[in-house]
Amino acid sequence: MASNIEKQTLELLTKENERYRLERLGFFRDVREEAIALARQFPPKEGETFPEWKNRCLREFYRLKGFGTFCRKNILNPEFEAIAASQMRIHLRKLFETSVQTDTDKYLAPDNDTLSYSLEPGLFQEIYTANFSQMPAFGNTQEFDRYCRDLVRTNFPVPEPDIISGMKADKGFYWEKFYLKLKPLTAAFCYQMSRISGENNIHDIWSDTCISVNRAVVEQRLKEPVDAKAIISYSVGVLKNKNKEIARSRAKAPADIDTIQYKLSAEDEEKYFNNPVTKPENFPSQAGGLANYIDFSDTTSVQGYFIVILYNKEHPLHAELVKGYEDKVQRMFEHYIDGLSYEDIVAKHFGAKEGKEQIKECARVRQEIKRLKTSLYDRYRKMLEKYR
């Protein structure tokens, strides 16, 4: 049985491996072997605190393994680039949470989301090429992490003109976020002006507005200089016009539409602007759209979030994910988490069976778990589309 020190070094290296994908990049072969060796070489000294021991232990580990050379060799490796991007995203999130909201975000970003502190893929490539081509010699992951943090501090928030240029260049990354901003606005205007409500009813107006605004900006039809406020003003104008058209087509004698109050009541605000699913409670990782927290280009990130939703029964999306599969999920947990064999599960849930009967039942449970994985993941992907 592993000693407590071995368990601790195993946890340190497992986390380093999860964070920097060291095994996959070929930095080491087996995390357990490395952890045992590390525990023997660098046990905690007397009077040393846990953070002090952790820093010393990892520093020595990376020095002996030659982390600097490893980084230089992998500079062109897309996997390594992805690690740099994920580290920068962590620091961006922290910076976003502790900074004053920018004007760009106020007008263009959905609630609790950001454009100014987002890592647009083109922007990341620029930063990576400029700063990692002559990579400093990192002694360990802590130095690598600090370098990423400094890059974030010097390059963010992205200036408003750069984001507007990105939108003029039709960069989907910025537009997708802005379209999400327009959704509750559309709902509010439709409800106030035309008494239309409901996701399905406003969908056409919303998508038409998105297309109109996109064309106006991309084709540079808005009066220069275009800024975030100009884009949101134009969007509101489009929404008002669309609702006026609806109201005119309904009324025989057109009403004086301009007398309608556009100010939202507190009740409407709650109803249309605070989507319960994305409300920032219980989970900060629920604040804003899921796109804020899941890197959709990274399979590990998408899969990790799936596990979190599936495992945590208190998660706001858990019930939706497992609906109708509750019993099967329970059996899957028993197999994967508690380590029960198929025979144990059969005995526990379907009573003691013997011979062919037992073999048949075990095969059925095995198939059930296999199919359940597929069904749950398919449902999860649909949910990602829905809440993205």
């Binding site: 953070p51 219980n282 399979t299 979190v308 994967y336 380590g339 994985k373 597929t374």
Partner: protein
């Protein structure tokens, strides 16, 4: 850190969303808290069970892709190709024999026509040429 780590922080630790300092705090806690370590291990085991073997990714591929990539599909495709090549070869060889045979028949017909044309010229058209060219035709012929 008093008590246990809340599930939100533990989830963020699992997802690598914490900063290095926050991460160290969690690690320090779980080094002495079997309950929190157990919950973290549960998430890791679940992840390993579902996505662990890379075949996990294969499991979540669409049915159509799985059919396309299965060994049976490949074997069936190979069989179809081999059968196709065999049939094509057979057809080509037998067609070639037919063409040779047809050419032979065509040639013999042409010869027959030629012979027929010579025969009929002598028999039927000599008078026409005699009328048209007079006796010179006969004379030249006699010459």
């Amino acid at each position: 850190m008093n008590g246990h780590i809340d599930i939100k922080t533990l989830s963020e630790y699992f997802l690598n969303k914490l900063t290095r300092d926050e991460e160290t705090l969690v690690q320090e806690h779980i080094s002495s808290c079997p309950e929190c370590r157990k919950r973290l291990e549960a998430m890791r085991r679940l992840s390993q069970g579902i996505f662990g073997e890379d075949t996990g990714a294969a499991d979540i591929r669409p049915v159509f892709t799985r059919i396309i990539r299965s060994a049976w599909t490949k074997a069936a495709a190979a069989l179809i190709i081999v059968t196709g090549i065999g049939y094509f070869t057979y057809e080509t060889v037998s067609n070639r024999n037919n063409i040779v045979e047809q050419t032979r028949i065509q040639n013999s017909r042409d010869i027959e026509n030629e012979v027929f044309a010579i025969d009929t010229f002598d028999a039927e058209d000599s008078l026409y040429y005699q009328e048209k060219y007079g006796d010179d035709f006969l004379n030249s012929d006699s010459l």
